[in-house]
């Protein structure tokens, strides 16, 4: 059944379809309508979850972690400053290997106060051991939340996952989306089995102090789980396709890349704009393509290398800036594809910060710049004026 919904309501609906048992959340613009809709569905009885209106995002994630530790499927959602406040608990969740799924509405970080889209909030959490998906449509939000539970809860993964959507472009924009059949969701997503579930029948401690002769192996276990997640993402997509007749192209869906002279790597709602620009440029005789980084953690190293093997120029669009040499996506792409035998020229572009629209003209300029220049530099695109 196709229904008009916002990206936020796609999150709420997916949480209900996933038969989430405990929801804990704290309001922050533009996440609020996710939680409001869940509250309505819990109140009406159609979503039989324990719903905790906690006093901070920090407590929201702790409540989810503790509920997951006794075996409950959990969901929360946040944005921007709220995600930053959660930072410590993000490590707790991955360290305890609890498969929480969280909706993140990507919003720029204050100060100055802003509520508009960019990816600084979630990119700043890239080292916390969470799986990160970035969606470009409300349909993808809905489907990805369900896929995220399936992936996160896999016995060899057991890592928490974020499903990120751009503020307002998705969170508050209505689009038609196909609603999966609830029975099919139950087939796709069996009840959670958390192997470390705390129970009085077999008392144990979860989260112990760990000395130097054990801690490193624990961290390696998280790294191995992340690598396993990378291998499993295509399988989860294939299973989703078999069940619902729809997929979103795995971790790095590509468009017009086979014969491309230059490929632009993007994430989130910039992707469909970039594809439209690539089509237009092809009509003008430029051979360009688009690769969407749908999954940033685990980073799809193999898929990125396979792409880079036949593309001479790769441009990377970061909708955040991390104060290193280029944005985080640029750094990771460059690290993945460079080798002693060479590799494509990788150029970094920073654009669309704080809700600045990524209009076709900006992206067209990025493509043309990527085709023209030979220096592996970093460029801010779409600046109103160059400072200084």
């Amino acid at each position: 059944m196709e229904t008009m919904m916002t990206g936020n309501h796609a999150q709420s609906l997916a949480a209900k379809l996933a038969r989430v048992q405990v929801v804990a959340a704290y309001p922050i613009t533009p996440q609020t309508t996710i939680v409001e809709r869940i509250a309505e569905m819990v109140a009406s009885g159609e979503f039989p979850a324990q719903f905790l209106e906690v006093e901070s995002e920090h407590s929201a994630l702790q409540a989810c972690i503790s509920a997951a530790a006794v075996g409950a499927r959990t969901y929360t959602a946040t944005s921007s400053q709220g995600l930053l406040l959660m930072h410590e608990l993000l490590h707790w969740a991955s360290g305890l290997r609890v498969p929480i799924v969280m909706g993140v509405v990507n919003r720029a970080v204050a100060p100055p106060w802003t509520i508009y889209a960019d990816h600084t909030d979630s990119i700043a959490q890239r080292d916390t051991g969470w799986i990160q998906y970035y969606a470009e449509s409300n349909q993808e939000v809905l489907d990805t939340v369900l896929q995220a539970y399936r992936l996160a809860e896999d016995a060899q993964v057991l890592l928490p996952a974020m499903v990120c959507e751009d503020a307002f472009y998705l969170s508050h924009t209505f689009e038609p989306a196909e609603v999966p059949d609830a029975d099919l969701v139950d087939d796709f997503l069996p009840p959670l089995v958390y192997p470390s579930t705390l129970t009085v029948d077999d008392p144990a401690r979860l989260g112990s102090f760990m000395p130097p002769d054990q801690y490193m192996e624990h961290r390696r276990g998280i790294a191995d789980a992340m690598e396993h997640a990378a291998r499993l993402i295509p399988e989860v997509e294939a299973e989703y396709m078999r069940t619902f007749g729809r997929d979103h192209g795995g971790a790095l869906p590509t468009y017009l890349c086979d014969d491309a002279d230059a490929v632009l790597v993007v994430s989130g709602t910039a992707a469909p704009t970039a594809r439209a620009v690539a089509r237009a440029l092809r009509a003008d005789g430029y051979r360009v393509g688009v690769a969407k980084l749908r999954v940033f953690r685990p980073f799809p190293v193999a898929a990125m290398r396979a792409l880079a093997a036949h593309v001479p120029r790769v441009a990377v669009l970061d909708r955040s800036f991390t104060f290193g040499f280029g944005g985080a996506l640029f750094q990771e792409v460059r690290n993945a594809v460079q080798s002693p035998r060479g590799g494509p020229l990788v150029r970094g572009f920073v654009a669309g910060l704080g809700g600045r629209d990524l209009v076709p003209a900006t992206i067209r300029g990025i493509f043309l710049d990527a085709l023209a220049k030979d220096e592996p530099d970093v460029t801010w695109a779409g600046l109103r004026e160059v400072p200084g």
Binding site: Q21, V22, A24, A49, Q50, L52, E53, V54, E55, S56, H58, S59, A60, Q62, A63, C64, I65, S66, A67, A68, A69, V70, G71, A72, T74, E88, L89, W92, L198, T199, V200, P203, A204, R205, L206, G207, S208, F209, M210, P211, Q214
Partner: protein
Amino acid sequence: MTRLTIPEPELMTTGHLACPGCGATLVMRYLLKALGPRTIVTIPACCWAVMSGPFPRTALKVPFLDCAFEATGASIQGLRAGLDARGVKDVTVVGFAGDGGTVDIGLQSLSGALERGVDAIYVMYDNEAYMNTGIQRSGATPWGAWTTTTPLGRTKAQEKKDLMAIVTAHHIPYAATASIAFPEDFVRKLERAKSIRGPRFFHVLAPCPPGWKYPPEETVKLARLAVDARIFPLYEVDHGRYRITRRAGKKAAKDYLEDQGRFAHLTDVEISEIQRRVDERWAQLEFLEKATAEVHG
């Protein structure tokens, strides 16, 4: 022969890593004796996070979830919600945190959980400083006390935070102080708490030999003196009604203070000032007991 009033089963094991004479071990031991094996405990950063021993060992015979330092209130609510969602109704959820993790960094989370009516027991074991990190001042450190961050010449110049007043301002069903020197009183209060649904709070004084600078064998004696000198009165607030649960054995504040190195620098004038505040606080408590008895009939 008198009947043993403390439950015999031990749910805390020997072989833990606490300092000799640690008061916090007895808080846990009596707590679990009273609540029994169908209990789950969540503990933030504090002495007990270390005392239970490193992975994979544990000194508790009940499930034990470590949680973030400032989030014990949220952790008990998450545990309760998770258990309820899975249909587990007969397990008591306990948050067990130190004074720093409760009155300072964890106060917001505790307040939130109390306000939301969490169905769980929260126990603050109060050793009156950040003992796990090496005796730094907390909001629960008493006026005049030496700590490593309130050294001689700059000892603590502020009153101890009255957490019971803050907790009871949430109008929860049950809150009590308790002492390891009066285990029958502690166990009776825990049994009363176990019979009630909703938020229940315990403030238990936990003398600390290295932090308070006294010989380890004097822990129970000091805990007793704290009560009998009215420094740490034993009382409960049951659905709004205050009851003082021990009045006998009036000692002077000096009797309690003089045995502890952390107070060794206090002058007679300062000790008199402490005595004045203790008497004032006791009078307030007696007034609350009388007033709430009238209100609640």
